[in-house]
């Protein structure tokens, strides 16, 4: 099956990941950040999907588990959205983070659901709370909030109390909520 775990931790330095991606496509790695022993590889937006596929399929990388995907809003800086994908290679016992920057005017990026099906709900959560659209996502609907919710609550410019005095649950219950 290929999921056997090696007994000792892999001694390869994680910058191997950057080297490996560079040798595949020199444009794929914009920047490599090391902070507190964690490696972050910044990837251009157009190449996210291809890089993700490479990370998953390459025999030297084997990042087969997408453990988490999340977004950080750096408002009012531009580009304001920072998407982080946390990858784990179960056979190699390695972690890496892929990062993509998205501007506030056009927060659209390719979905990675085709690479890791587990990205489905993670991307829906980011869409729900940050309003980032994922092209090619099979089922991009709100997941935690009601379908008729206004705004994206985890954006930094969204007030903690919301936009309205009264929560908009009344309309939701009147409407048939079958998707």
């Amino acid at each position: 099956m290929g999921f056997e775990i090696v007994t000792e931790s892999s001694s390869q330095s994680t910058n191997v990941v950057a080297e490996c991606l560079r040798s595949w496509n020199p444009k794929a790695v914009v920047e490599v950040i090391d902070f507190r022993g964690e490696t972050t590889i910044v990837v251009p937006r157009e190449l996210l999907r291809a890089t993700a596929e490479r990370c998953c399929a390459d025999a030297k990388l084997q990042y087969n588990l997408l453990t988490d995907a999340t977004c950080v809003d750096r408002y009012p800086a531009e580009p304001r959205f920072e998407l982080n994908y946390h990858l784990v290679s179960i056979p190699r016992r390695e972690k890496v983070r892929l990062r993509v920057w998205l501007g506030g005017n056009d927060p659209v990026v390719d979905s990675v659901v085709a690479v890791w099906p587990g990205a489905n709900w993670l991307e829906r959560e980011i869409f729900d709370l940050f309003g980032i659209r994922f092209t090619g996502h099979p089922d991009l609907r709100r997941i935690l909030l009601p379908d008729d919710w206004e705004g994206y609550p985890l954006r930094r410019d969204y007030p903690v109390e919301g936009y309205r005095d009264v929560p908009n649950t009344g309309e939701l219950f009147r409407k048939s909520s079958t998707p």
Binding site: I5, T40, L65, W116, W121, L122, L144, L154
Partner: protein, 385 residues
């Protein structure tokens, strides 16, 4: 026919709604609908100082508050580059392993009652009570403990703690065997769980499943072994795995995990010294002792600054994962150098494992849906956050 299961259904373990498209009694399609418990914890975190967030973490996965405290504190400590005294690390390990047993007990009890075995539920809650008593002894709280703090622990273990844990360790192994005599060979239990809710190892990894559900599919992925934290590398224990990947295999994995946790607690008990620090030395981050605060000017200033402003870690991002009873629990913190986190995100294993539910139940009978929800071991507080 489309059937609405939940949000108020005892077997959904909270408020989960599943739309079931049925053909007779067979499930053709299942669409989970969640968010009924969404409280915006991640948004609230952005408005609190680093220390204040700890009380919110308790309230996510309410069967694993200590584990949530731990993952958050580990993340902040990584951000700060803090070194934690060994004694505090061992106490943390002991507490989260007790928590793992208590969480598995709730799982086993509720899973069994869902499938019609009433007795196991009562037995499990009887033993869970003993663990909660230990928590009360250590932390003053049964559930929302907030015991693990940034830089160490809230309190020194109280007098008599060792005897209390010893008593529990002596009692528990035979009690776990007792559950096994009730279930493992039980024909009804086998009939309800064996071959139900199969998922292949490839699918489980692709769907980002972790924890006992993944290990029951034959993948020995356990954060305590693969990416050890809090001195787990010093403990000897096995990672139980099965290959059948059905509800019965997951039951066996979790029961075996309880035995492994008992082993870890035993080792931790031997490692924890009676005297020693429980907090790191970091003035300005960890509140000074009360006596010092009353007698030393500097300590008073630190005390005042910590509780009015908080502390400011360096800008950067960290992502820390631990093994919660349900799987990989992760905490992502982005700091912008201010006393409040820019972003806190929790990777809830329940949320991500629940994603695989349609895969488990499509093509199965409607009565197996209940077995499958139980077997993933979801806590809706963590799913919705």
């Amino acid at each position: 026919m489309v059937l609405n299961m939940g949000p108020q259904h005892p077997s959904t373990h909270g408020v989960l709604r599943i739309l079931l498209e049925l053909d007779g009694e067979t499930v053709v399609k299942a669409i989970p609908d969640l968010g009924y418990l969404h409280t915006g914890i991640e948004k609230s975190c952005e408005d609190k100082t680093y220390s204040q967030v700890i009380t919110l973490t308790d309230r996510m996965d309410y069967l694993n508050p200590l584990g949530n405290n731990l993952v958050y504190c580990l993340a902040v400590e990584k951000l700060l580059g803090l070194e934690i005294p060994k004694r505090a690390q061992y106490i943390r390990v002991m507490m989260v392993e007790l928590q793992r047993i208590s969480s598995h007990l709730v799982w086993l009890g509720t899973h069994a009652i869902d499938l019609g075995a009433m007795t196991v539920f009562l037995y499990c809650f009887r033993e869970r009570e003993e663990i909660l008593k230990i928590f009360e002894l250590f932390t003053g709280q049964r559930m929302m403990t907030s015991y693990i703090r940034i830089g160490g622990l809230a309190l020194d273990p109280p007098a008599g703690w060792r005897q209390a844990v010893e008593r529990f360790l002596k009692m528990m192994p035979s009690r776990v065997d007792e559950y096994e005599t009730l279930l493992t060979e039980n024909r009804i239990w086998i009939g309800r769980t064996k071959g139900v809710g199969y998922i292949s190892a490839e699918d489980a990894v692709a769907l980002s499943m972790t924890g006992p559900t993944l290990r029951a599919a034959g993948v020995a992925y356990d954060n305590r072994k693969v990416f050890p934290y809090s001195s787990y590398e010093e403990f000897k224990f096995d990672v139980p795995t099965r290959t059948e990947s059905d509800c019965y295999a997951r039951y066996l994995v979790r029961v075996a995990e309880m035995h492994e946790s008992l082993k870890i607690i035993r080792q931790a008990l031997d490692k924890i010294s009676n005297e020693g620090p429980i907090k790191a030395e970091a003035p300005g981050i960890i509140p000074p002792q009360r006596e010092k605060m009353k007698t030393e000017m500097e300590a008073l200033i630190y005390h005042f600054k910590i509780f009015t402003e908080g502390f400011s870690p360096a800008p950067g991002e960290v992502f820390v994962t631990v093994e919660s009873p349900r799987g990989e629990l992760g905490c992502f913190i982005a700091s912008d150098g201010s006393p409040k986190p820019l972003r806190v995100h929790f990777r809830g294993p329940s949320y991500i494992n629940l994603q695989a539910l349609p895969k488990l139940i499509e093509g199965q009978l409607i009565s197996d849906v209940i077995a499958c929800i139980g077997t993933i071991d979801i806590v809706l507080g963590e799913v919705d956050r």
